[in-house]
């Protein structure tokens, strides 16, 4: 367990901290379809909170309920301690950055950013100052007089961000903010977003289906499935200690082996997974009851591959190389065990043209320590 040091930002571990947003038993139905199912959730001020899940899992509905475009069917949402039920979107101190950016095509970049400020009856000179500040923050100074169709996709994304931040909302909602950008630009923009979030101190709630994006930007991630939250954790813990096969599989690559769990001494558990094979040895805390059907989950990069059997590993199994995916920095080996299970092992290509010694059809050893994987019971 990581130590909660004083300078680490983790209000969710502080029982005295007051959440900015509270979802209390919120349910949303569209006809017979349940989009959000009895959901309870706290989000704290200055968090960068990611809602992650496949399309149709309800993450967008949650965001639209926060913005005021959808009402709850039952339950209560409060922002800063105030119940926002029935408050229309134009009366909420919440702004949203839309997936399509939703820039006003007939207004210039400057007018787009000033739009919200004019609605709030701010004095003219203050509007100008604020818009200039936003243009500087998003490096758009030179484009102020352009129309949205006269700027590039990446610049449009920044205009949308500047526009939604201009009113200095308590909470900024971002709906797949980087979905329309190509991969290279997306990675640069992720860091820019984090930078801006830190500078402005605004609470960000981001909706995404891209796990890498969520891992990069978020302070906490909520993994959603069919209207329910499966797990809420920091990116590192989501990756290292997923609470279910669904989360383990959704975030990154994983090997799953099913078997019967039997606890031994000192937190060690055996998983009997196939006839005639020695059990997988793994740690679990707290202990799991004898005879439970469980799933052993291990990330490919934690599985070592070698020609000879390593002496010091708790788990070692022999198999045959089926496929090698060479990705440049790493290679992924697909190894078939005699039982028919296919296990993926990943190795870093730290030397040029290294590991030539392992090739297709070779018999190899896969090995891992007793703490490399975890046992999941759901």
């Amino acid at each position: 367990m990581p130590v909660n040091e004083q300078n680490v930002f983790a209000p969710w571990e502080d029982p005295k901290a007051k959440p900015l947003i509270k979802f209390e038993n919120v349910t949303k139905r569209f006809g017979d379809f349940v989009a959000i199912d009895d959901l309870t959730l706290d989000i704290y001020a200055e968090e960068f909170f990611a809602l992650l899940g496949p399309s149709g899992c309800g993450k967008t509905t949650m965001m639209r309920m926060l913005a005021g475009f959808e009402n709850t069917s039952s339950g209560k949402i409060s922002i800063d301690g105030v119940d926002v039920g029935g408050v229309p979107p134009n009366k909420r101190a919440v702004n949203m950055m839309f997936q399509s950016y939703a820039l006003f095509p007939h207004l210039t970049v400057y007018e787009n950013i000033a739009f919200g400020l004019k609605r709030s009856k701010m004095p003219k000179d203050e509007i100008a100052a604020r818009v200039d500040e936003m243009l500087r923050l998003t490096r758009l100074e030179k484009l102020a007089r352009r129309k949205p169709h006269q700027v590039s996709g990446g610049q449009r994304q920044r205009i949308a961000l500047a526009r939604s931040l201009a009113k200095a909302p308590k909470l900024l909602l971002l709906d797949e903010p980087l979905g329309a950008l190509d991969k290279k630009l997306r990675q640069d923009t992720q860091f820019e977003l984090m930078d801006i979030q830190e500078k402005t101190g605004t609470t960000f709630v981001i909706v995404t289906h891209d796990q890498e994006e969520a891992m990069t930007v978020a302070s906490r991630i909520a993994v959603m499935d069919e209207g329910r939250i499966v797990q809420i954790e920091t990116p590192a813990r989501i990756y290292e200690t997923p609470n279910s096969v669904y989360v383990a599989d959704f975030i990154g690559d994983v090997n799953i082996i099913e078997g019967n769990v039997s606890p031994q001494d000192g937190g060690v558990h055996h998983i009997d997974w196939a006839e005639g094979q020695s059990p997988i040895i793994a740690h679990a805390d707290p202990s799991i009851a004898n005879g439970t059907r469980g799933f052993f989950a291990i990330r490919p990069e934690k599985v070592a591959i070698s020609a000879e059997r390593p002496a010091d590993r708790a788990n070692a199994f022999q198999g045959k190389v089926l496929d090698i995916a060479y990705l440049g920095n790493v290679s992924t080996y697909h190894v078939a065990l005699p039982t028919g299970n296919i296990v993926k092992a990943q190795a870093t290509n730290s030397r040029r043209l290294s590991r030539r010694d392992i090739t297709w059809e070779d018999t190899v050893w896969l090995s891992w320590t007793d703490t490399a994987g975890i046992i999941l019971t759901q």
Binding site: F69, N90, V94, R146
Partner: protein, 274 residues
């Protein structure tokens, strides 16, 4: 590989010849000296002169333009409202009936629409005149306007309106400041369509007009029944000319904006790469 063969070239040539030759002949013979319309007797513009002295035609033209202006304006307002209700209105009591009433006049034979409106005006004891034609034209052209506007409304990204609400607009301000400017081109073409339909209508106007409110199509129709006359040729040429100039200008303007826009977009993407 583009399969543009002699066959395609022939079909286009013949097709457009079929579409345009009759009108071209009409235009040429409007400059014919002779009253016998099928015999060419030299160039003359005298029928245009006679046309502009024909009080009956001038009066009818004035009535027609008045009717077309007012009915297309009312139709644009009502049709835009109807389109907004259809596309953004959500559910309400009688929505099916409402959309049925919008689409039905588009496929209704004009004789039936005209007959039914006339029977209504008689039943409520309304005197027939410019007013009744305006009411009748507004009713059927608002349906065309609402079809044009609603297809534009349906195709534009709804989140643009939501963004306006999100930034503090009331629903009415969002419509005024964001939706209306975006759909303006469709509203304008709706108005033009309504104007043309009204200008063009013979059947419904015949049912709903009174003795003092003869429109140009009604005049033309009664003249045409007696056969081809050079004055009608001249009048037709003027009408074809106005429409051609209008349509060609409109399509050139829209082509220019589209090329400009495409060039802007290309430039913008290049800027990003620098």
């Amino acid at each position: 590989m583009r399969r543009f063969s002699w066959f395609n070239a022939t079909s286009l040539t013949l097709g457009f010849a079929f579409l345009y030759l009759p009108m071209l002949i009409l235009i040429i013979y409007s400059f014919n000296e002779s009253r016998l319309v099928t015999v060419w007797a030299g160039f003359s513009t005298k029928w245009y002169g006679e046309l502009f002295q024909n009080e009956a035609f001038l009066d009818a033209a004035w009535v027609t333009v008045k009717v077309a202006f007012w009915s297309s304006t009312f139709a644009t307002v009502l049709g835009t409202m109807a389109a907004y209700v259809l596309v953004r209105g959500g559910r309400f009591l009688g929505r099916t009936l409402f959309s049925g009433m919008i689409y039905a006049p588009l496929v209704m034979p004009e004789v039936i629409t005209g007959l039914s409106l006339l029977l209504l005006f008689i039943a409520i004891g309304m005197d027939r005149g410019v007013m009744t034609i305006v009411l009748a034209h507004t009713t059927f052209s608002m349906c065309y306007v609402s079809v044009v506007v609603s297809s534009r409304l349906a195709s534009f990204d709804r989140s643009v309106e939501e963004a306006a609400l999100d930034l503090g607009c009331s629903p009415f301000d969002a419509f005024r400041l964001v939706t209306l400017p975006i759909i303006a081109p469709a509203v304008i073409s709706g108005w033009l369509l309504a104007f043309t339909l009204s200008l063009d209508d013979l059947v419904i106007a015949s049912f709903t007009s009174g003795p003092s409110s003869t429109t140009l199509p009604i005049r033309i129709f009664s003249a045409v029944r007696l056969g081809v006359t050079p004055e009608i040729n001249a009048l037709s040429t003027i009408m074809i000319g106005i429409v051609t100039v209008g349509v060609v200008t409109a399509s050139l303007v829209s082509k220019r904006t589209m090329t400009h826009r495409a060039a802007d977009e290309r430039k913008a993407e290049q800027n990003d790469k620098l």
